[in-house]
């Protein structure tokens, strides 16, 4: 009897725990490549194959569209200008798949993949300039009715396409440094890193990547460190906060040293490594207070320590002789 009660208790507990862990089915999409950069002459064509993967356990109805976007913020974010396929966009883009067309929904079975072959053909009359688009995969509405009040979740996944239409082999790239500063300018705390904020503005007609570095000079003369700039895209008429790279891994642009004193940071880069280089310098101080306070404390302790009593026997002896 005891054994039956014990088994029932164990079964009940296990059921309780397993119930609390239950989560509903996961579904999702995967898309690659996730960024396409194209420099193309008007009238020429380029083909790019995208892979779309349905990672979930149910079939999805999807629609592929290409929509224009504009850059937003200063960290590579974007805002689609519309979510519908524009007739003008159809002149530039088409899918060469036999069964799937841009703007038409298609079924992607659970746990399967689909290649979408996008052909980009700027007409011969296309004006030179940059054109920014988002290759967007939208989940189509399926007319699913909820059994009660609530919300339906739809997902979309997108990959930016940056196109420079030009007849020149080396389109014009123009940059300006809108901000370069060290923060804080005076590092008062021990091991407080100096963060560099570099904002680069694109004042030309074509997107580019800054290629260069920040050099840290001790007392304005001796190089102490070099930070490689992360070559992020800066689109026309926008600016971007530039990070750094260390061994090809993204990292904040920051610096710290054991050596207190005055430093200069000089940023120098070229748009796409081709045009004229831009250079700006800022300065900062590494003067942590803790070591100085510690030094003052130690010196203070030495100063107030009671001196040992010394008898000047020579002087006493002299006095005795005088008497």
């Amino acid at each position: 009897m005891k054994r039956i009660i014990l088994m029932g208790l164990v079964l009940g507990l296990s059921l309780r725990f397993s119930l609390s862990r239950v989560e509903a089915q996961t579904w999702g999409l995967s898309l690659w490549p996730l960024l396409l950069e194209v420099t193309i002459q008007p009238g020429k064509s380029l083909t790019q194959a995208y892979w779309l993967i349905n990672q979930g356990g149910r079939d999805l109805y999807l629609t592929a569209v290409v929509v224009p976007f504009r850059p937003e913020g200063d960290q590579g974010q974007l805002r689609p200008l519309t979510l519908e396929l524009d007739p003008e966009v159809k002149k530039l883009f088409r899918l060469t798949n036999s069964q799937i067309q841009l703007g038409q929904s298609f079924k992607l079975a659970a746990n399967s993949r689909q290649q979408l072959v996008l052909k980009i053909t700027p007409p011969a009359t296309q004006p030179e300039g940059d054109y920014y688009y988002l290759f967007l995969i939208k989940q189509a509405e399926e007319g699913e009715f909820l059994p009660a009040s609530g919300g339906q979740s739809l997902i979309q996944i997108g990959s930016p396409i940056l196109i420079t239409v030009t007849r020149s082999a080396q389109p014009l790239k123009q940059a300006a440094i809108s901000q370069f500063r060290a923060q804080p300018r005076w590092a008062k705390r021990w091991q407080q890193p100096i963060q560099f904020q570099l904002r680069v503005k694109n004042i030309g007609p074509h997107f580019f990547k800054p290629e260069g570095e920040i050099t840290i000079l001790y007392w304005g003369r001796w190089p102490k460190a070099t930070l490689t700039l992360r070559p992020d895209n800066i689109l026309a008429d926008s600016q971007r906060l530039i990070g750094c790279l260390k061994e090809d891994r993204p990292q904040p642009c920051q610096f710290w040293s054991w050596w207190p004193g005055y430093y200069q940071a000089r940023v120098e880069f070229r748009p796409d490594g081709q045009a004229e280089s831009l250079q700006v310098t800022t300065d900062f101080f590494l003067l942590p207070l803790e070591p100085f306070l510690g030094l003052i404390l130690i010196l203070g302790l030495i100063k107030i320590r009671p001196r040992p009593l010394k008898l000047n026997l020579t002087k006493i002896g002299l006095k005795l002789n005088n008497n």
Partner: protein, 462 residues
């Protein structure tokens, strides 16, 4: 008489045989432990343009026959190619396939013609070690390395030997002095030069002293200048080494070879290891079961990946639900996830009778501004976020010491823009966020089933 002749001939034969045997005894011995170690055993590269290349192109296609290198198998990103006619150089960017590669710049018109030959020069220091066989006084150690029959000192790779590459005496490092050997500065002599028979380049270290047997010595050939490794030999099979002779000799005071050994040195293509990591973005949604504690609340509703079914909603208490959003990308630029609703919750989703989005307890909540929402007298629909592992979330349910900091979803019907809910500006390894939905209605809310659509969009940043 005939017998005497026969005896004489036999005697002569014996004498010849005896002489031959003695001569063998007097010949040179083999040096032992002879070895030539190359700094790199990679073959040089020597190919030619295929037809159809144009000036300004950054892609080069090579001839697949008729030249020493007939595939890109021994070409690597970062290699410097040099055109033999123009001496122009380019840096290899990527290997496209077996007969095409790209360069980091563009091809000059002088280098775009068909059959224009180019090379990748691979030089190597040779470290030759040996053990002497006998004591030879005031002699020399000489190393002879296989040279081509023509163009063997132009600095470009040859097909049947090592190119001398204008080496000088200072490029030879002789062994350190040891018992019986007092070495002087070494010499480097091109094939066919003074005292160096054609077919081999000569490197010599002369010494004074008695010499000694069984002494280990090492000579380094290559300093400022180094020998150029050969290009693939004619009939070369990729992956099979081409071998060349290296002769190591111990000379006497009159430059006669006393002891000698021939070693072989092998050069072969390097193996290019390639792996492609596809840049991709993955975005998924998962339901969360009721009873879980998320955003500081015990959830009342079990959601699925596609739906948040609030069911029958209470009037006097909040109904809470949640979904889990996950993004992973190997893009260095990161990602952004935005959210937007098609409209406020409405009966049948027809946008006529609606449950308004929450104004928040202080009537400051909007799609861009959050507000505390803990008072059940504040009616409506809104959401909050709980960060699980994302780099950056727009706001959090417990920010500013709030119990449930809430926002309205951006409303597409009201021309509001999608709002970023979480993001990363770098590589993201499965970053997760809970989206927490909250709903409470007033007693006067018209009965019915209210619906809307919420669209989550994940985009890679540019």
């Amino acid at each position: 008489m005939k017998k005497a002749v026969r005896r004489g001939a036999g005697l002569l034969l014996l004498l010849i045989l005896f002489h031959l045997i003695r001569a063998r005894d007097l010949g040179s011995a083999n040096l032992t432990s002879v070895k030539d170690t190359l700094e790199t055993s990679r073959l040089s590269f020597h190919a030619a343009n295929a037809s159809g290349l144009t000036a300004g192109s950054s892609v080069i296609q090579i001839q697949t026959s008729g030249y020493p290198s007939t595939s890109t198998a021994n070409l690597f990103p970062g290699d410097t190619i040099k055109y033999l006619t123009s001496s122009n150089t380019y840096t290899v960017d990527q290997i496209i396939d077996s007969d095409e590669f790209s360069i980091t710049s563009t091809l000059a018109s002088a280098d775009a013609s068909a059959n224009a030959e180019f090379v990748v020069i691979r030089t190597a220091t040779h470290t030759v070690t040996l053990t002497t066989a006998s004591a030879i006084p005031n002699g020399a150690i000489r190393v002879r390395i296989k040279a081509a029959s023509t163009n063997f000192n132009d600095g470009n790779p040859d097909q049947d030997g090592f190119d001398f590459n204008s080496m000088t005496d200072s490029d030879v490092t002789c062994p350190a002095d040891t018992t019986g050997f007092d070495f002087v500065t070494g010499t480097a002599t091109v094939s066919g030069g003074t005292g160096c028979p054609s077919g081999y380049h000569c490197f010599e270290c002369r010494y004074s002293g008695t010499g000694a047997a069984s002494t280990s010595l090492s000579i380094t050939i290559g300093g400022t200048n180094e020998l150029v490794n050969p290009a693939p030999a004619s009939g070369h099979t990729a992956g099979t080494a081409d071998t060349y002779s290296v002769i190591v000799e111990n000379l006497d005071a009159n430059d006669n070879v006393v002891d000698s050994t021939t070693a072989k040195v092998a050069v072969i293509e390097s193996v290019r290891v390639t792996a492609t990591v596809e840049p991709r973005i993955e975005f998924s949604i998962a339901g969360v079961a009721s009873g879980n504690s998320v955003c500081g609340n015990t959830l009342d509703v079990t959601t699925t990946a596609t739906a948040v079914p609030f069911g029958s909603v209470a009037i006097s208490s909040f109904t809470d639900a949640a979904q889990q959003l996950t993004v992973a990308t190997n893009a260095t630029g990161g990602y952004v996830v935005t959210a937007i609703e098609d409209d406020q919750l409405s009966i049948g989703g027809d946008h006529s009778v609606e449950i308004p989005d929450t104004p928040g307890d202080n009537s400051t909540a909007s799609h861009t501004t959050s507000d505390e929402w803990a008072n059940t007298s504040t009616k409506g629909f809104g959401y909050s976020l709980q960060n699980i592992s994302a780099s950056s979330v727009a706001f959090s349910y417990n920010e500013s010491s709030r119990t449930f900091s809430a926002k309205q979803f951006a409303d597409a019907a009201n021309s509001e823009s999608p709002q970023t809910i979480f993001s990363s500006s770098t590589v993201a390894n499965s970053e997760q966020v809970y989206v927490c939905y909250r709903l409470i209605v007033s007693a006067t809310q018209q009965a019915g089933e209210y619906e809307n659509q919420i669209t989550y969009r994940a985009t890679a940043t540019f």
